[in-house]
Structure formats: C-alpha cells, structure tokens
Symmetry: C2
Subunit: 458 residues, 2 copies
C-alpha cells in the first residue's frame, strides 16, 4: 500500500517541491544508514556473547496432533508471507537500502527484543504509564459511557479495515464489501460496534503492522471499551450464533487463537494467528503494543528484525518482520513478563484456516448447527494466503474466490434464515424462500433463532 503519510508522493508535486523531497529522502537515507551501522554493532556483540539462544531449543518437545497438523500448514504458509511482503511493499518508498548482513548467524538471547527496540528508537507515541488509573477516573466521571453494556456484557469494539485505495485486483473490492456485510451482520446480531478503518495512521507501520497504532489509538479514544477485537478483512464470521465466552478471559488481557505446544516447544512461527484476536483496554495492553511495535518500522529495521525472527522461529522463511512472528518472538523471549495474561484459545475457531473448512460446509449443515464455533461449525473462516485485494496470493485465484463465495453464502444463510430465505446452494448469490409467508409472522419468529439448523436442500 502506497502511503507517504504527511508527505505527498513525488509524482503529485512540481519539480521545485520534488527536489525538496529528494533532499529530504537523502537525509532520511543517511539517518537510516546510521541506524543500520549501530544495529550491526549490537547484533555482532550479541552474536559474540550469544549463550543459550532460542536456536538451541528449536525442535525440542514431543509433537502433538495439533503440531503435526501444522507441519503441512507451514509449507502452505511460506509462499503466502513472501507474497504478502511484495503486495505490502510501498511503491512510493524509494529509500530501502540493500543490506548485506548475514542473518543465519544471528542467534540472540532473550533480551534482544528489548535491545532491538532500544536501537530501533521507535515508539507508537508518548509513553503512558497510568492508563488504568486515567481510564478508571474517566469511567467514574462519565457514567453515560459504561464499559459494560446491557445485561452486563463487557463493551467490545470490532476493529477491521482495508487499504484506502481500490484493490489491485478488481474483484477484491467486491469481497471486501461482502466481508464488511458479513461483519455488519454478526455485530448487529450480537450488539457489537464496528470500526472499519481505511486510513494509514502511521506511515512507518504500513501493511500488517498497521493494526498496532490503530488499536492503540482506539483504546485511548474509547476508554468506555473493555475489549478491542481485531479481525482481518479476509476473515469471515461463519458461525452467526456463536458468542465469545468472555467470562473465561476475566483474568487475561490478550486472547488469541493458537497452540501452546507449537509455541513453547516448537517455537513455530505459526503457533499463533494475529488475524483475529482480543486485547483488553488496559495498561498491560499498551505496554504489549509498545514492546511489539519496534520490529515494525518499514525499511532496514523491519528487514533486520525479519532476519532475527527467521533465525529463531521454526519454519519461518527469510523475509521482513511481520506482526505475527514478532508477537510470537516477544511471548517466547519475554514469557515471564507477558505469559500469564495471554490466553491461547483453540477450543473454537477464533481464527480458522480456510483450506480445511470451506469444503466441509455442506457436511456441517447436514450434521450440525450454528453456535458450536469449532470444527463442527467454525466461528471464523480466515482466508490466509488468498489476498483477494492484493496482486499476489499463493493459492489459485479461482479457488480463493469460489471458497470466499461459499463461506460468505454459508454465513449469509444463517442470516437469511431468520427472514425465511436461503441461498439455492453455497455457490450462488441467488436465494429462495424456505418458509411460507403468513399473516401471523410473529408466531413463527421464535423458530427462527440463529442456533437453528440450516436448510440444506438446494
């Protein structure tokens, strides 16, 4: 996504301004060179004094079903990330510097993330250290904005978004629209508010890192929120009846889908998925974002951080730092600091990898019903690696689009059912009546609860 923040792209400017811009870029290049030199120094020192690093732990621990299942996913995911980079790379950005540092030797000990942060010299904003107190006081003074809504549910905001410009791939915008409609439906049914972001809040954190400044900004602007729920634009709700069991997370601040053994034993780079996660509005979360962000700044920092992540996370291909790997690395390298407040959820599909799910929808409709949220009726189907809005997916476009359409219609059937309609089958946008119209419509209303089974006959 092209995003120069406060600086307009050169092509929009008169030559005088363009030359000013070129000077600015040269200054930035020089500054970046400086940062890299310092960074090299640190890394070298760390390599020299490198003792027991993550490296030596890689591969430890016995494999479980979950981890075995994941091995094949690793392969599936490698291309994806590489492709994501390309489509996340900034066309306006002409100041990335080729970097000769060989990362394979980079074995850092568990304090390196903080050292990198120190040298990255990047922050999401002014350090806030008393947020819980600030927020508590504000909630007291503003009883009109309670952090718990009707029937005492904690107030949640679903946060999602897509690039400000049209998709590279024309059909992409159509599926972004269907993704938005799908989220509108789930959130209406469950009384959840939505922010759909189409702006780049921080030019340094473009691409998959953009969610960090956005989530932080929304936390600070909406003290009335108890939870912020990030969801990727390519993730669809496929269980319209399932509700997140928030009570289960009363003692936790981050809820994310993943597998503890993959994380702590295998150090797998896909042990967690950041396509759909919940973050509590509190000081702990602000601190996590501060510790998470420093690997994100575009250019040398992100590239160098990528080498550290690849060297330390199992199965990770060589590419710039991504938010998911960075979070996994952070939780591994500072487990004591963060671990006890992180809930790794896999009892339902807070994130569900699409390839294993989309072909089973008819079977699910035969055997089960909405409200289960797990492999029997997945809560979320996430189209990892399809990038319908990008130029490069690592699955055939036809397969991705057909599957997206199936997932959308599978979910839409659960909504249409409440109105007495259903898609003829999961591949068609056309709908048919599933219930005779009556002059006493309210008498049948109770039978139309979202948990009910879905009409399968096409």
């Amino acid at each position: 996504m092209g995003q120069e923040g406060k600086t307009p792209p050169a092509r929009d400017l008169p030559s005088s301004a363009r030359s000013r811009l070129t000077r600015r870029r040269q200054i930035r290049k020089t500054f970046n060179n400086l940062k890299i030199t310092v960074l090299c120094g640190v890394v070298t020192i760390l390599v020299l004094r490198g003792t027991v690093g993550i490296g030596s732990l890689v591969g430890a621990g016995g494999g479980t079903d979950a981890s075995e299942a994941s091995q094949q996913k690793v392969v599936e995911d490698i291309d994806r990330i590489l492709r994501e980079i390309r489509s996340d790379s900034d066309p306006d950005d002409d100041d990335q510097i080729p970097f000769g540092f060989n990362s394979t030797a980079a074995v850092l000990n568990y304090t390196s993330a903080e050292e990198l942060a120190a040298y990255a010299n990047y922050t999401l904003g002014p350090k806030i250290s008393d947020w819980d107190e600030q927020r508590r006081r504000w909630l007291e003074e503003n009883p009109g904005f309670p952090s718990r809504v009707d029937n005492g549910k904690p107030r949640i905001l679903l946060v999602t978004g897509s690039p400000p410009n049209p998709c590279d791939n024309a059909i992409g915008d159509h599926y972004l629209l269907k993704g938005a409609k799908n989220k509108i439906d789930y959130c209406r049914i469950h009384g959840i508010e939505i922010v759909y972001n189409m702006a780049h809040l921080d030019r340094e954190l473009a691409g998959y890192w953009a969610k960090l400044p956005l989530i932080r900004r929304l936390m600070l602007s909406h003290p009335e929120l108890e939870w912020l729920w990030w969801m990727d634009s390519d993730a669809l709700f496929t269980d319209m009846a399932f509700e997140i069991p928030l009570d289960r997370y009363a003692a936790h601040n981050l809820v994310i889908h993943g597998y503890p053994d993959l994380l702590f034993e295998k150090h797998s780079w896909i042990a967690l998925n950041t396509g759909s996660f919940l973050l509590r509005n509190c000081q702990w979360s602000l601190d996590l974002l501060d510790a998470w962000a420093p690997m994100g700044p575009k250019g040398p920092i992100r590239d160098e951080a990528g080498k550290i992540l690849t060297a330390n996370l199992q199965g990770r291909p060589a590419f710039e730092a991504d938010d998911q790997s960075a979070l996994i690395y952070l939780l591994l390298s500072q487990q004591k600091r963060w671990g006890d407040k992180v809930y790794i959820e896999n009892s339902y599909y807070l994130h569900g990898f699409w390839t294993g799910l989309v072909d089973k929808y008819e079977e699910m409709m035969e055997k089960y019903h909405p409200g289960l949220g797990d492999e029997r009726w997945p809560f979320v189907t996430h189209f990892v690696g399809c990038k319908p809005c990008g130029s490069y997916g690592d699955y055939p476009v036809e397969r991705c689009l057909k599957s997206l359409e199936r997932a959308f219609n599978f979910a839409d059937n659960q909504v249409l059912r409440m109105y007495g309609f259903s898609h003829g089958n999961l591949t068609t946008p056309k709908i048919k009546r599933t219930m005779k119209q009556t002059e006493k419509p309210l008498e049948v209303l109770d039978q139309l609860n979202p948990e009910a089974r879905i009409e399968t006959k096409g």
Copy 2:
C-alpha cells in the same frame, strides 16, 4: 441485476431442464399476454370515461424557489432514469413482450392506481390487517426487545444494500465499500443498527423496487423496530453529528425529503426522493407498501404503469414505472388516504442532491460546522445519476468518482478528527495528524466532539 428467484438461470442447466424451463417461460408469456389484454381494456374504458384527471391539474399553482430550482434538475434527471432502466434490466429475463399501446392518451382519474393494482394481481405477501395489535402484544411478551433504546430513543434500523454480484464497473465496488464504511461510522456514533442487503427477495421487484419487499420483510421480522430508514447505496452521510429530529414526527409514519408545492401544485415527478426515507413499523406502513408495490412487477405491468406515470407526472420521461414516481402518484391520487401521515421534510438534507453540494465542502468547512444538516452542512449527499456500480451514469464518470471521493473524505474527516487525524485535502485518501499525541489522552477527549469545526488547512 440478473435474478431468477427460485428458478436457476437456463445457462446452469442440462438441455432437458432447459427445455422444461422454456415451456415454463412460454406459459408465463401467455399469462402475461392475458394480463396485458385485460389491462388495455381497463385503460381504454378509463380513457373513455376520463373526466377531470391529473392531466388538467399539471402546471397549476404558482412556482416557488424550490420548484424553480427543480426545473433544471428535471432535465438533469431525465437521462438518469432512462439509464437506470437499462442497468436494472434483467439479463436472464427473456420474456418481456414488445408492447404497442400508446400511453400518451392515458389520462386516468384518481382511482386508477387501485384499479391498476387490482388488475396487476400482485401482492407483497398475505394481507396483514392487525399488525399494530400483533406487534403491541409481542412487545408486551418480549420486554427484552424494547422498541425504545437507551435514553428512550425509538429503535431505528438503517436499511441499505447493493446487488449480489460484482459491479459492472470495477471501481463501483470500491465506492460501495466506502459507502458501507460511511454508514458504519454514522450508525456507530448514533447507536443505529444496520442491515446491508445483498439478495433479491422478490424476483418481480428487482432494481429500485427491491426496497419494498425488503422493508416489509424487516418490519415483520423485527417488531422491536419503531422506524425503518431506507438509504440508497449511493447516498453518503456528510454530517456525522446531525441527528434526525424524531420527536417532530411523532404523528407521522412516513418521513421523506421533498417539496409540498412541487408535489401538490406541480405534480412534479421529482417532488419527493426515495433515496432516503423513514417508515414507521405499523399497519399504516404495511398498507402503504401494499398500495405502492403493484406498479413494480417487472415486464408489462411495470412498463404500462410507467406510461400512466409519465402521462400524469410533470417532467417525467417515458420509461417503466419507478418506485419514486409511483409513490408520488399514489400520494397525489389518494391524498386523503395517506396525506395526513406523510411528513415532507426539507428543513435539512435527509436527501441532498450532490451536484449542488460537493463543490462547496471547503466553503462549509471555513464557515460552518457539523450538526446543521442543511445547505450549510448537508446531512446526506446523494449521488443521483452517478450509478457508480452500474454501467450507465448520466454524468461523466470522472466527475462522479472525484465527487464521491470528496464527499467520503469530507465525512471521514469528521470521524478521523475524533482520533486526531484529517485528510490532507478532500481529494486524497492520505491523512495527517491534526493533534499532538499526549500521555494524558482523556484530557482532550471532550474537545473532540463531532459537532466541532473541521481542520481545513491541507
């Protein structure tokens, strides 16, 4: 929009099924021919006994500013509607019958709408006559679904939607997405629920008529709703602070933007705009929909009704019946029956015609502030005639898209401002900070109310 309802399109079928389908179509053609013959009969009789018709009233009454202003709009709108027909026409539909009847002679008296309805032999569903009582009882039995939400506001549902298939025009889906984001923003800020429909509930009422069966279905499925608010996909909220003054409409059931003199004196076909209107969930509204719908069924009925409308509404070009003209005709021909419950609103832009507004946004930002809703800061900017999702608009595509982008960013600035950001200018998706970050974010929160003036410096 192709939509065969319960019948799959021929191209999806084996030849055996296709021949069955052809037979069905022939039967339908014969039936349609029959309907037309009967209809011609009626019309002829009415023409013979035609006494004081609308025709003789057309042009009566003195013009006012509003009506003068509208004359030029009439011209602007003529192509639009003609183009809309083309892009609303059903590609699957091969059974429209060429029709030789000359409508120019069709001058009907004020009962013709009902006579047409009788002969159209079409209903939105089983007649419901005790809805107010059914609904009252349901609300008593379901205190968990009150028709008034927090601080006693009547519960509103915003209803919008777009075709189930991708737009003819690739960029169209991007602006449908921006339109959806714009509605998500307004509705979040004002606690209004949204239904975004992407299905054809009734194959007979495709195109601009689709809103009728949809609104009726939602009324009957959501007795907890007090108001349903229809808004076209090409209408954007451009005043994020303005709230509809619902108290003003306590005694009314339909709230629609328009000009009484244009309606009752000029019988102008653009006296009202159905791109954004409120309908109360009550028996009266169900009756209105029943009386409104019969001119809608695709094919001969809609074509013939169009001739009646063109013959009787000032400035209307010759084309099939559209929902807006049909409502105007209904209110004129049955003023006694409906008039006292219809509130014709023009004190703010419940619908605002884009051409007169989009070029004044900078001026508005200089002089005024959100929350006014009228020509100083229009509540809604409606891109009548642009059809970003269709093939044919009657304005240059570039002008439409540039203006859509400006309207979106003008509105988005009012949202971004709450987070300390703003678009560099109304033509760019890129944003800049308008407020320094602070470690005490809650201290500035009050200054960021949506009514505040918008940063204009680019």
